[in-house]
């Protein structure tokens, strides 16, 4: 167990180093920040001064080292555009994105598994055929279109739910703001969460269904039936647990993409999250902000993968307990 953990952590560190190298190289290859920041009438001395202030006059290796040391302390420098610390800007926006991502992930995973299991067990039934047909829409329609359609239907036509923004928020602790505690916050969350989670839901559902059908064909399921275990126990205890092993990986990766793809949903719903911040950063070539965002997304992926690997370990005794007879 310890060896397994150490190995995975080392791998995670390696991945993060690679990503930092990429993020760091942004500073050198995506335009000259000094020119961007100072404008036309600055003198050479101004430029040199700014260069020194940003540390751009040092050797590349030293710059990279500094970048990493700073990154470990969550220090990504000052935004070129708004001249505020990047970390502060991200932290300010992070709660909105995380709340949206977590709610839509729960929506996608819970419904995805329920529908997937149902459509696998009741394969021929009318309802399951209906669910499968509808799920095609979720797979094939692009996120922004679903968002716009939902806004048109529920916000514009029916007027049930707000079309944009986060509603009222409540501050918890020093920096976290939540929309989960107010009625308007919750109402604002519904449409973006569905938009963001719909694709993942259909993906997870189809995956669970395919995997479950596979498992239901195995000998151990047939043997479980043959020795008289009730249908419910066979499906929900024996089959589901085996189904979830490969599904865990995909769900983990999908959670990462939910956060990464929040950009589009946040733009459609003008959600004040990190994704919207990143879009602005790209538009104004705000490199420190882009680098920080990149590192954050990478960290999310790496952490989720780590959790997935550990989950595997907990669920599957074949990894946990050494095999072999005698």
């Amino acid at each position: 167990m310890l060896a397994f953990l150490i190995q995975r952590v080392l791998q995670a560190i390696f991945v993060m180093l690679m990503v930092s190298l990429f993020a760091f190289s942004l500073f050198h290859y995506v335009g000259d920040p000094v020119l961007n920041m100072l404008g036309q009438e600055a003198t050479e001395a101004d430029r040199a001064a700014l260069r020194a202030q940003l540390g751009l006059d040092q050797p590349v290796v030293v710059q990279f080292w500094n970048f990493i040391v700073n990154a470990v302390q969550l220090e990504f420098g000052i935004s070129y555009r708004s001249a505020r610390p990047v970390t502060e800007m991200i932290l300010e926006r992070l709660p909105a994105t995380l709340e949206l991502a977590i709610v839509s992930a729960i929506f996608a995973v819970v419904l995805g598994i329920v529908f997937g299991v149902y459509t696998a067990i009741a394969r021929g039934s009318l309802l399951s055929k209906f669910i499968m047909a509808v799920s095609l829409i979720g797979v094939s329609l692009p996120t922004f279109l679903i968002g716009v359609l939902l806004i048109y239907l529920f916000a514009v036509n029916l007027g049930w739910l707000p079309a944009f923004g986060r509603g009222e928020t409540v501050r918890i602790g020093s920096w976290w703001t939540t929309g989960l505690l107010t009625a308007s916050g919750l109402r604002s969350l519904i449409l973006p969460a569905i938009t963001l989670g719909l694709f993942q839901l259909t993906l997870i559902m189809r995956l669970v269904r395919a995997e479950m059908l596979e498992v239901l064909r195995t000998d151990y399921i047939k043997f479980a039936r043959a020795r008289g275990l009730p249908q419910r126990v066979v499906n929900l205890r024996h089959a589901l647990k085996n189904t979830l092993i490969p599904v865990i990986t995909i769900i983990g990766l999908q959670l990462g993409t939910i956060i990464a793809f929040a950009i589009i949903t946040e733009t459609v719903f003008q959600w004040p999250g990190v994704g919207a911040l990143f879009i602005t950063a790209v538009r104004f070539v705000d490199i420190p902000l882009m680098a920080a965002y990149l590192m954050m997304i990478a960290l999310v992926f790496v952490l989720i993968n780590l959790v997935v690997d550990l989950l595997y370990y907990v669920v599957d005794p074949r990894l946990r307990v050494p095999g072999g007879s005698k």
Binding site: L2, A3, F4, I6, Q7, L10, T218, D219, Y220, K222, F223, A224, R225, A226, R227, G228, L229, P230, Q231, V233, H238, K241, N242, I245, V315, D316, P317, R318, V321, P322, G323, G324, S325, K326
Partner: protein, 703 residues
Amino acid sequence: MSSTPSSDKPNSTNRTEDRQSASSEGPILSVRHLRVEFPVRHANLVALDDVSFDIAPGEVLGVVGESGAGKSMIGNAVIRLLEPPGRIASGEIHLAGRRIDNLPEDDFVRLRGRHIGMIFQDPLTSLNPLFSIGDQLVETIRTHLPLNEKQARALALDLLAEVGIPAPETRFDSYPHQLSGGMRQRVVIVLALAAQPQLIIADEPTTALDVSVQAQILGLLKRLCAGRGAAVMLITHDMGVIAENADRVAVMYAGRLIEIGPVNEVIHRPRHPYTEGLMAAIPRLDGRRERLYQIEGAMPRLAAIPSGCAFHPRCPHAAERCRRERPELIPSGDSLTACWLHDPEAPVVRRQPQGGERVVLVSSTPRPAGEVLVKAIDLVRHFDVSKPWINRVLERTGRVTLKAVDGVSLVIRRGETLSLVGESGCGKSTLARLIVGLYDLTRGRLFYAGEEITDLARRSGRRAAAVRKRFQMIFQDPYASLNPLWRVGAIIGEPLRYFRPEMSDVDRRRRVGKLLEQVGLSAADALRYPHEFSGGQRQRISIARALANEPEFLVCDEPTSALDVSVQAQILNLMKDLQQQYGLTYLFISHDMAVVKHMADRIAVMYLGRIVEVAASDRLFATAYHPYSRMLLDAVPSLEGTGKRRTMIEGEVPNPIHPPSGCAFHPRCPHAFDRCRREVPVLTIRSEGSEVACHAVAEGRIV
């Protein structure tokens, strides 16, 4: 006694009475005119047609037939676990006098495990890998018996001990992957028998096991069922297993029951020509035939079952009536058979089988030995199966090597067939791959026709190619060894394209056509894809591919173990014909002693990476020296041995990663003594052409 969780139901008391009365009178299982259909898109396939039989209390009914005959379908229909869209279309099934085929599903579920138990073929896949065996046992017991957690656990431990699982207390919390194949099948048996069902359906219960373990498991199953008075339906393709375990035998062909009778009658006086052919097609341990009797063709597919008697296209005696009229079961002596040969009024006349090959027994004089073709000196192949370095550092363990082949020397002469035999994990396949250069040698030297080819696996280029094309390999699984996206012509032509690039397309096509005809297919088959062929035909394609460049040496790794008996006979005959025609040399690997006896001139017996005995085939079968060779021979269920008693060999093949010290066989050997535990025996000449690695033999303690 029979208080299932459903004891509030009014009929539960009736059931108890049924149960008790059944043991004194009437059959446990009675199947009448059973018909199973598979409605598919364009047709309604009939998988079982008008099948009727009974099984009495305590009786073992063997159900035999080749793949596609519908034998597993019977078991699945009785326990109502047919794969969808299969369904029982008509007929009745009675269990202990009660009709069960029309029970609603909710009631039927309560029969499974409680009244009907079922055991499947593969113990490696029958148990849920994510739950401990104790978990699965307690769950099953508590489903059927009104016991609390603690009582169920106690019962489970008793049952585990009863089936011979050592240290049940510690095994209780093990997961399936921690147990060996034989141990897992014991757990499967406990699970199936936990609630003492009256009827056990065992579907190929030992097919996936090694022959020594097979004997143990069958013995165990028989003892447990006899002790509980349960009736057994033993479904298998292995006539030897039937001969030794069944009381009566039912023979299936194309979804129909074609013969049923007492085991001795069916095996020694078969009535139906198919049964006759099947018996004659089985390679025997007693006496050796030059060729096996061959039933032409293969089992028809469900979509194309012939009219009249389904067997008529393959039957040597078929008359006009057989093509038109379907025979029903007719009494003949103590048996029943569905064949017009036995019609009491106007029997169809029997024709003499052509050639009369099946009665020719030859005393196999070993062929005159040619010059040495393959010479292997002290071959060693280790696989690194260590954990990642970080585990080794933290757990303070070193590298772990699997010694798959651990010092093998052998000689193969031109024109002979050398057989490698041994149970799974003995290294026979690895050795074969070393010899053809598919694996690198860890150590040792290899010569082919006088030329050193030790580093062939790493070599490329013209000279290596010149050696490589002189030998070819035929693999076990005809489904996995042909690329499904290539036409047969391309598959067979590939070695030609590679080794003879100068050959024109026309010539190559002509050669492919000729090869196909040589292996009994037609030249037109070159345009078809592998999935259009049956298993036996695919193996013929594999052989044609191997023969493309006129090799002199073929390595055949279990070439018939995935095939049915009648098809196996065709392939073995073909291989023998080709050997005579082209003077081929074979290295023939098999776990089936009877097949080996049929094919081999000399035999090398392997155990855990080493050869323990080499001898001429006749010598080995007459008097094997090594205790392991004796055990292998003794464990084979034989057709002759109805009711035969044998000395049971304990244990299973140990994990080759941690082989026992000294002689690897010593923990299972009845003759082991101190020296065997310390010292590895080497192969020493015992008599002319025969070598044995055994201290007991060397010291004269075994004769």
